[in-house]
Amino acid sequence: MVSLNSYLILGALLFSIGAIGVFTRRNALIIYMCIELMLNAVNLTFVAFSKYLGNMDGHIFVFMIMTVAAAEAAVGLAIIIALFRNKETVNVDAINLMKG
Amino acid sequence: MIADLTETIVKILFIFSINVGFYAPILGWVERKQSALMQDRVGANRANIFNFKIIGLFHPIADAVKVLTKEDFIPEGADKFFHTLAPFLSLTPAIVTFAVIPFGGAYELWGHPVKLVIADLNVGMLFIFAFASLSTYGVVLGGWSSNNNWSLLGGLRASAQMLSYEVAMGLTLIGVFMVYGSLRLTDIGMIQENFFRWGIFMQPLGFVLFFTCAIAENKRAPFDQPEAESELVAGYFTEYSSMKFVMFWMGEFLEIVTISGIVTTLFFGAWHLPFVTDQMLVSFFAGAGPNGAALLAMLVNVVVFFAKVSFFIWLMMTIRWTLPRFRYDQVMRLGWKMLLPLALINIFITGIVLLV
């Protein structure tokens, strides 16, 4: 049988890869995708825990996370489209509207 | 274990051969011949081998061989990897989906229980959904990777359209699930043993909505905006030639079969004849011994199921050759403003009926 640790290590690996992506990539879309990847990694750990604890609460968490991810994707992509219209770029370094 | 494995392999081979080996090539012929007859024409009938013509059945063979020997073209500036991947992506879901559709009842053969379905998942319908949503990628990638404005427009249209109609389709099916209380397609099939519990009687509105959404999912006319010939040349597969182009086509045809299978399973009594239960079949064939009876009953199931499937294929082809196509924004409006609310109303009514 696969041990819980294997799932957790896998989850952690994916999470870190996602984090690296968020830190190093400059394309807003890819950053979004990396965030999605991180969320997925978390989902994996939730499902794994829930199986190993014999408790299905983890599934509910995953359900909620998916909802949040969907909402995030919708709003995030809308923001990207709006930004692209104004700035003609999706490079996050070029987006500094908030810097005043 | 061995028996299970054999059973699965036999079933997979059966479905695969019937889909890819029979329906995929024959549908090309059916489409041509049927449209021809509808239009007062004769249709392909001249291809002959040793002077045998058999009503043009050799034409699909000719098409297939010709297409295989045609130059395979990848346009300049296109993304080679995705360009090659896209047709496979659109073909695979169509083949895989049939795995959860039951084409017969559960019997016992030589002491081994046999269910006439490849994979009897408890989330069967969700599985179909999952793969239907994956088939979007083939289209979108095909459109994007061709480096052609028409393809791109086709891909964009396709993605938006399929996404929208998936929503309506899902909501439509909720009513069905509420009625049957299961996502497992074999369960749904079993319940419809009773003629008066066929989906068409319990969910008439659901049937219409689902059928519409399914056609739209499959991008068939009147929802064929992504490949609208008069607008977008050939839409997302404008730049495809040879085998890859035919794979898109085959994908479309197989999806027709799959959709017909789903419609049959959900709304038209699956493998059942009206008023005839599986038990009655087995007892009817009792003379052939227990195994023989089961085999014969299975045969009847399969024949009935595929007869129904063929009927829906015919219906879809008739629709395709009868109706003009929508405009793109009208498709979207129909999906979001008409089908979606109707699906919600359907759920609501179903809920009330179930409660009362």
Binding site: - | D40, G77, N148, D224, Q225, S230, T322, R327
Partner: protein, 396 residues
């Protein structure tokens, strides 16, 4: 395509539709500036079928122009034949005998029916209803059979002669026509049922390509497109030629001038034209079908075989052409697409100085940008079909 791909970075996408695009009939190019799917700007480029009609006419004799007119509006060639012959007759100042006029009415109306069949068929095909297309092609084939029996060719008939027509109606033409019309009407009803109340079709056609009456007039619209806008201008009624004033028919008129009205007007005109043909066939008088004017055309076979002077004269007219008196005229007939005018200038010699055609679909095509701005890309399809741009006529 590739240069427009660069423009993708901005939100506008420039797409070249045509000329080998299925909707453009091979003879027109739309340069569409798209914003998403909305048309920001549309440029029409015609001339892909400019075959030098006028230049060819100026280099041939008056008779030799006749086959060229067949190929102007190649969907209804006989109307062009009739129009050109009428123009030359006006130049001569003569009028064809009555029977000939009836025959001309019959063939004109048949050509009109064919044209509308083709137009509606193509329109339906391009919005996706393939079956309708083939039903009307089937119906058109029946009429073409009749025309072939009469004229000797299915499309390019070259049938009308100055002061007459080439030959008389064949035996049993009326009965065959009645039979053909019966099938045509059946198919017409089928198509009517398939399209007229079909909401998908209506949604595609209604309020698309709308032209209000005043603007349509300003843009020089004529024919079904103008009538769809509500202006009952029909040369057959306004300035009756041939025997149209004796025929009982109505001019269908639309209301809004959108594509759906154009479709309805055409469908109704098919009916009206069938009525005209039936009336003409019922009333057609006996008598000569040609003017007995040797100067107007080549000599009859009897004469050329038997009379030496006639033969010499024949040689003269064939080699030099008939010689209309000097002058200039403008003569209009109601073509299938609108007013088909011929402006002829003669200097008294056997060759035209100028043979100008007023192409009805030319102004219609010119109004495409006006009709399409702000619409969706898919709206180009029905609009372009319903204005019925015919390359041979538009580009000449």
């Amino acid at each position: 395509m590739t240069d427009s791909a660069k423009n993708l970075h901005t939100e506008q996408m420039v797409i070249n539709m045509g000329p080998s695009h299925p909707v453009t009939h091979g003879t027109v190019k739309f340069t569409v500036t798209l914003d998403g799917e909305t048309i920001d700007d549309l440029k029409v480029d015609i001339g892909y079928l400019h075959r030098g009609f006028e230049k060819m006419c100026e280099n041939g004799t008056w008779e030799q122009v006749m086959p060229y007119t067949d190929r102007l509006n190649y969907v209804s060639p006989l109307i062009n034949n009739v129009g050109y012959a009428l123009a030359v007759e006006k130049l001569f100042g003569v009028q064809a005998p009555e029977r000939c006029q009836y025959i001309r009415v019959i063939i004109s109306e048949m050509a009109r029916i064919c044209d509308h069949f083709t137009n509606i068929a193509a329109g339906a095909m391009e919005v996706g209803a393939m079956t309708v297309f083939l039903y009307f092609v089937e119906a058109r084939d029946l009429l073409w059979d009749l025309l072939e029996e009469l004229c000797g060719a299915r499309v390019t008939a070259n049938y009308v002669r100055f002061g007459g027509v080439k030959n008389d109606l064949p035996e049993g033409f009326g009965a065959k026509t009645a039979q053909a019309f019966e099938t045509c009407r059946k198919l017409w009803v089928d198509v009517d049922k398939l399209l007229t109340k079909n909401r998908i079709f209506i949604d595609r056609m209604r309020d698309v390509g709308t032209m209000p009456a005043q603007e349509a007039i300003a843009h020089g619209f004529t024919g079904p497109c103008l009538r769809a806008s509500g202006v009952p201008y029909d040369v057959r009624k306004a300035q009756p030629y041939l025997v149209y004033d004796q025929m009982d028919f109505e001019v269908p008129v639309g209301e809004t001038g959108d594509n759906f009205d154009r479709y309805l007007v055409r469908m109704e005109e098919i009916n009206q034209s069938m009525r005209i043909v039936e009336q003409a066939l019922a009333r057609i008088p006996r008598g000569p079908i040609n003017l007995d004017m040797p100067a107007l055309r080549w000599q009859s076979k009897d004469d050329t075989y038997n009379r030496i002077e006639a033969l010499i004269f024949h040689f003269k007219t064939v080699t030099e052409g008939v010689k209309p008196p000097a002058g200039e005229i403008y003569s209009a007939v109601e073509g299938a697409n609108g007013e088909l005018g011929f402006y002829l200038v003669s200097d008294g010699s056997g060759k035209p100085v100028k043979c100008r055609v007023r192409p009805p679909c030319f102004p219609l095509t010119a109004a495409m940008p006006r009709m399409m701005r702000g619409r969706l890309i898919a709206d180009i399809v029905p609009t372009f079909d319903m204005i019925n741009m015919i390359g041979g006529e538009c580009d000449r």
